[in-house]
C-alpha cells in the first residue's frame, strides 16, 4: 500500500485530538475572557455588590459611665446600667398570633388580646413589651416561636430609687442625658461608641480571614463620684418632704455646701420624681433641679450680701449704729419696715439683720454713695453683686439648665433706678438661685474665696485612672478675711435673737456655731407690681465649730403658713437641717 493512501486514515485521531484541544482551548478562552470581564473590568461593581451582602457594619455602643456617691467612708453607686429586653414580633413569620399572644401573656402578664392586636398590625416590628428581665427573656427564648424575638437595651437603673433624682437627671431613649448631671456631663459619661466592620457569614458572624475587617473597641464613659453624701442627702429629702407638707409649700429647694471647697454635700427639691419612670411625668418642671435653675427674688437674706459689701468697703463696721427713720422716700416711693420693727429709732448692723430692716439695708446702700443712693452707690453695689458675689451669671456647676438670675444694671434708665437699687439691697428687683446665694455666702464666710460649686469629686476613667476634682477658685478677695470673721457673729446673733423670740427649734448646743438670716420675698406679678398675698420664704445659714463647716440655703416657694415666709417657711427647714448635721456627727464642735 502506498504511503500516500494511508495518510488520511492515520491523521484522523490526531485531527480529532487537535479539534478537541482547540475546543478546550476555546472554552477555556471563553471562560478566561468572561472571568477577565467579570473580575477585572467589572471588578468595582461586583466588589461593591459582594461587600453589600457580606460586609456588615455595626456600631458598638459604649457603656455609659456610672454615677456614684459617698456613703460614709465608702462609695456606692446611685446610677447603674442594666440590660433589659424589648419583646417584639415579626408578624410575617408568626404562624398563629393567638398561640403566640397566649404564650407571651403567660410569661410577662398583660393582655393577650393587646398582644394579638399588636401582631396583626401591618409592620415587621411589633413591640409587645419593654424592659423584660433576663429571666423573662430566657423564658421567651425557650418558647422557640417563629417571629418572636428580644432585643437587648441598656437602661439606667437607680438603686436608691428617687434619691437625688433632680440632681442626677435621666437618660432618654436616644441614650442622651437630660437635666441634672446626666446632661451636664454627657460627653464624659457617654463614652465613644466602637465600630465593627467585617465580612460575615450568613448568620452575621464575622469571618476572621478578611483584610477588610475593622474593629474599633468602644470606649466606655467615665464613672463619676459625686461630692454628695448619700446619708445627708437622704435625710435632707426626708426633711423637705415633711416640711413641704407642714408649711403647705408649693415647692422647696435646699442646698448644703462645704464653704471651704465649694463641694455640694446635699441638694434637693420637693416635689420630685422617679427617674426610672421619667416618661410618665406630666409636669416637666419636676425634671428641673430648682436649686440651680429657679431664680427668684431672695428677699431679706440678700441683706447678708449688702452687709458684707458695706463692711468690705469700710462704709460700716459691725458695731456701727445709725438712726433709722423707719422709712425712706426713694424716687417718690416709700421704703418701709414691718410694724413689728418698732418705728423710728437707733439701730445697729446686728439689729438690722435680726429685725430684717429694709430701711437699714437701704441705709447701708446709701453709705456706699456717701449718704445717698446715687451713681457711686449703685456702681459700688452692682460691682459687689456681679463681680464679687458673681450674681447674674451661672456658676458653672455640673447641672443642666442652670439659671443666671438677673442683676439690674446700675445705669440710670429714667425709670426709678435708685428705687430699683434700694430694692436690691433687701433682695427685691434682683433674682438669684439658691446655689448662687450658697456660693456667695460661702465666699464671705470662708474669708473671701469664691469656689466654683461642684458636684463632682472624682472621675474614674475606664482603665481605672482616678482624677480627683480640685477646688476651682472663681474669685479671690470677694471680701476681706476680716469681713468673713465679722459676719459670723452677726449671723449667730440673728439665730440667738430668734431663739429668744420663741423659735425654740433654734436651740443648738453652744459647742456649735450656728448663724443665719431669714428672707421673705414679695413675688413679682407678671402683669406689673407685686402680689400682695404671695411670698417666697428663704433662709441662708451656716453650721460649724471653730470654723464654718456647712452653709445651708433654703428656698421655700409660697409657703401657706401664717407669719412671714422666711421665719415660718424657710427657718424651720434650716433648723431641721442644722440639727440633722449636728446630730449625725457631720459637724466638728468647737475645741474650746
Amino acid at each position: 500500500m502506498p504511503m500516500g493512501d494511508q495518510a488520511p486514515a492515520d491523521n484522523q485521531p490526531l485531527k480529532r485530538i487537535r479539534i478537541w484541544y482547540a475546543l478546550v482551548v476555546l472554552v477555556v478562552a471563553v471562560f478566561g475572557v468572561r472571568l477577565f470581564y467579570l473580575e477585572i473590568i467589572r471588578y468595582d461593581y461586583y466588589h461593591k455588590a459582594a461587600l453589600a451582602s457580606q460586609l456588615k457594619q455595626y456600631q458598638i455602643p459604649a457603656t455609659r459611665g456610672l454615677i456614684e456617691a459617698h456613703d460614709g467612708d465608702s462609695v456606692v453607686p446611685v446610677v447603674l446600667n442594666q440590660t433589659l429586653y424589648t419583646l417584639f414580633a415579626d408578624p410575617k413569620y408568626v404562624k398563629d398570633s393567638y398561640v403566640l399572644a397566649q404564650a407571651v401573656q403567660k410569661i410577662i402578664g398583660g393582655s393577650a388580646t393587646d398582644y394579638e392586636q399588636a401582631i396583626k398590625q401591618p409592620t415587621r416590628y411589633a413591640v409587645l413589651a419593654h424592659k423584660l428581665t433576663p429571666a423573662q427573656k430566657q423564658q421567651v427564648d425557650n418558647l422557640h416561636l417563629a417571629g418572636l424575638g428580644t432585643q437587648a437595651v441598656s437602661y439606667r437603673t437607680y438603686p436608691q430609687s428617687q434619691l437625688a433624682s433632680q440632681l442626677l437627671g435621666f437618660v432618654n431613649d436616644e441614650g442622651d442625658g437630660e437635666y441634672g448631671i446626666e446632661q451636664a456631663l454627657q460627653p464624659l459619661l457617654k463614652g465613644t461608641p466602637g465600630q465593627l466592620k467585617a465580612v460575615t457569614d450568613v448568620n452575621g458572624i464575622p469571618l476572621a480571614a478578611t483584610k477588610n475587617n475593622i474593629e474599633i473597641a468602644p470606649k466606655a464613659g467615665d464613672n463619676i463620684v459625686l461630692t454628695i453624701n448619700l446619708s445627708m442627702q437622704a435625710q435632707m429629702e426626708n426633711i423637705l418632704t415633711q416640711e413641704y407638707q407642714k408649711t403647705k409649700s408649693k415647692g422647696l429647694s435646699a442646698i448644703i455646701i462645704d464653704p471651704n471647697n465649694g463641694q455640694i454635700k446635699a441638694m434637693a427639691n420637693y416635689p420630685t420624681y422617679d427617674p426610672s419612670q421619667y416618661s410618665k411625668v406630666s409636669d416637666q418642671s419636676l425634671f428641673q433641679d430648682g436649686a440651680v435653675s429657679n431664680a427668684i427674688e431672695p428677699g431679706s437674706s440678700m441683706k447678708l450680701l449688702t452687709t458684707a459689701a458695706s463692711l468690705d468697703q469700710g462704709t460700716i463696721t459691725p458695731t456701727t449704729s445709725f438712726y433709722d427713720p423707719a422709712h425712706w422716700e426713694v424716687d417718690g416711693f416709700n421704703i418701709t419696715d414691718i410694724e413689728e420693727d418698732g418705728g423710728p429709732r437707733d439701730q445697729t448692723i446686728a439689729s438690722t439683720l435680726n429685725l430684717s430692716l429694709n430701711t437699714g439695708a437701704t441705709w447701708m446702700l446709701m453709705q456706699m454713695g456717701n449718704g445717698q443712693i446715687n451713681t457711686k452707690a449703685r456702681n459700688a453695689w452692682y460691682n459687689y453683686m456681679v463681680n464679687h458675689f458673681l450674681l447674674g451669671k451661672d456658676t458653672g456647676i455640673e447641672q443642666g439648665y442652670e439659671a443666671e438670675g438677673y442683676v439690674p444694671p446700675p445705669k440710670d434708665n429714667g425709670a426709678g433706678i435708685d428705687l430699683t437699687y434700694a430694692n436690691t439691697s433687701f433682695g427685691q428687683a434682683v433674682t438669684v438661685t439658691a446655689l448662687q446665694m450658697a456660693s456667695a455666702v460661702s465666699s464671705i464666710l470662708n474669708g473671701g474665696t469664691y469656689y466654683q460649686p461642684t458636684l463632682v469629686d472624682q472621675t474614674i476613667a475606664p482603665g481605672g485612672k482616678t482624677t480627683t476634682n480640685q477646688p476651682k477658685v472663681l474669685k479671690q478677695h470677694v471680701v476681706s478675711a476680716q469681713v468673713g470673721q465679722e459676719m459670723i457673729p452677726l449671723m449667730e446673733y440673728v439665730v440667738q435673737q430668734h431663739l429668744l423670740a420663741g423659735f425654740n427649734y433654734l436651740n443648738f448646743s453652744p459647742a456649735y456655731s450656728v448663724g443665719g438670716k431669714t428672707g421673705t420675698a414679695q413675688i413679682a406679678n407678671p402683669s406689673g407690681g407685686y402680689y400682695t398675698d404671695k411670698y417666697n420664704g428663704t433662709y441662708i445659714g451656716f453650721v460649724g465649730g471653730d470654723k464654718v463647716q456647712y452653709v445651708i440655703v433654703i428656698f421655700n416657694m409660697q409657703p401657706g403658713v401664717a407669719g412671714y415666709a422666711g421665719s415660718y417657711g424657710g427657718q424651720p427647714v434650716f433648723a431641721d437641717l442644722a440639727h440633722m448635721l449636728i446630730d449625725s456627727g457631720y459637724v466638728s464642735p468647737k475645741t474650746n
Binding site: M3, Q6, D10, I17, Y21, V24, V28, V76, P77, L80, N81, Q82, T83, P134, T157, P159, Q160, S161, L163, D201, I205, P206, L207, A208, A209, L230, S231, A234
Partner: protein, 129 residues
Amino acid sequence: MTYSSSLAAGRQRFDQGDIRNNQSLAKPWGKNQNATSFAMPARTLGPISNTIILIILACLLGLLYLTQVTKTNAFGYKINALNQQQTQLQQQHAELEVASARLQALNRIQNSPVAKNLVSVAPSGTVQQ
C-alpha cells in the same frame, strides 16, 4: 512518517556514525551486524498534558488556599463565641452590681426588720436616788 521509515532513518544515522568512528579504529560489530539503536528517545510532555497539569496545580493551590482560609475563618466562630461569653459575663457582672446596690439602698436598709428593731440610744429617764 510511518514506523518503518523512521526505523530506517534511525539505522541510517547509526551506520553513518559507525563509519565515522571506524575511520581510525575498526569496530568488531562494524560489519555484518544489523545493529538497531535501542536508545530511548527523550520524552517530552505535550501541550495538553502541560495544560492539565497546570490546571491540577492551580486546583491544588486553590484547595490549599481554601483550606487555609476556612481554617482561619473558623477562628471567627471561636472569637465570636468567646465574645458572646465575655458579653454574657459582663452582663451577669452588671446584674450582680445592680442587685448588690439595691440590697444596700438606704430605703431598703431603713425598712429592714433589723433597722425597725433598733432602739434609740437617747436616755429615756434619769436614775433617781
